[in-house]
């Protein structure tokens, strides 16, 4: 029998192969006693092999691993914190941003509103007094402007200046005649 055919018989005996292969091998073993003997032999072994199950991993190995893991997790707390703060700038930036927002919100939003110290009537009186004071100041400014314009500039500056210029002019004219 060809090696290829034997391999196919073994494959089918172990439950493998395509549907076509299975049909072909079934036909072959029904006609060929040698093929049937090979098939039966391997099929029996395959059946025993397929009854084998996974071995259970001893509990102590698993519990040792879990307890090691818990120790490592405890020891890693500060290392994780360090990594979080210094090796991942994005996290640090995010934490800083959140902290800043919280501080600013606390200052501006939670700040207690000052209670009003004056009654509306007092505020109205004060307002009136401020307006009067401003009116007085305004009046003083206007008066000062008029004084400067009419008294200081006209009488104290323009007139003596004109007088002086006229004297100079007369002297020059007299000098020219002589």
């Amino acid at each position: 029998m060809e090696e290829k055919t034997i391999n196919k018989i073994i494959e089918v005996a172990y439950g493998g192969g395509s549907l076509f292969d299975k049909m072909k091998i079934r036909k072959l073993i029904s006609e060929n006693s040698e093929a049937k003997a090979i098939y039966d032999e391997y099929s029996s072994t395959a059946s025993d092999v397929h009854k084998l199950t996974l071995e259970d991993c001893p509990d102590e190995i698993i519990s040792n691993s879990i307890s090691n893991l818990e120790i490592k997790v405890k020891n890693r707390f500060f290392l994780d914190l360090y990594e979080l703060l210094f090796t991942k700038p994005a996290y640090t930036a995010a934490i800083m941003a959140v902290t800043s927002i919280v501080i600013i919100s606390t200052i501006f939003i939670d700040r207690p509103q000052p209670e009003s110290l004056f009654t509306p009537q007092e505020v109205e009186v004060a307002d009136k007094q401020v307006k009067e004071a401003l009116l007085i100041v305004s009046h003083l400014f206007v008066k000062s402007k008029d004084t400067i314009k009419e008294d200081v500039l006209t009488n104290k500056v323009s007139k003596p200046l004109n007088k002086g210029i006229n004297i100079v002019n007369n002297l020059l004219e007299e000098g020219g005649e002589k």
């Binding site: 391999n7 494959e11 025993d48 092999v49 996974l54 190995i61 698993i62 879990i66």
Partner: protein, 177 residues
Amino acid sequence: MNKEIKYKFLIKQYSNIVYTYALYMMKDKMDADDVTQEVLIKIWDKENSFNILKAKSWIMRTTHNLCIDYLRRRSISYSREISISEEFDDMYNLSDEQNEPESQTHVKFMSEKIKKEIQKLPENLKSVFVLYEINGFKYREISKTLGIPVNSVKVYLMRARKKLQEQLKNYEAQEVL
């Protein structure tokens, strides 16, 4: 916290597969225990370096590599005497007196015989055979785990089946004698 959940999930999912593979490869319970423990530690240490979807092949590749390392070390200085068969014997003896004693005893006897013969297979054939027939891996998964082409996996599997059959024949011949 997320890492712990992932780790516990991986342990629950793969510890038996790892242990079974190690037991068949090492033929020694103590070595299998050591390999399994080491694999579980490696899973924790390297958990971030592999995708959970590819965990199966990563874990089995690690297990296979560790088994090979242990076998090499053992070939240099081998001193232990406890064999996998003794481990299996112990397990059968412990639970031998349960219901349906005759059929159970027969099944256990056959299983023991098969296990003993599987562990006698050459390493390259045994790794493929155990992964395919006992751990239920597919050709492609075995190929990724062992780093060999899919066609080689098929060839090794066929050789392993033939070799196992041959060994069982010899075993039966010896039993008759």
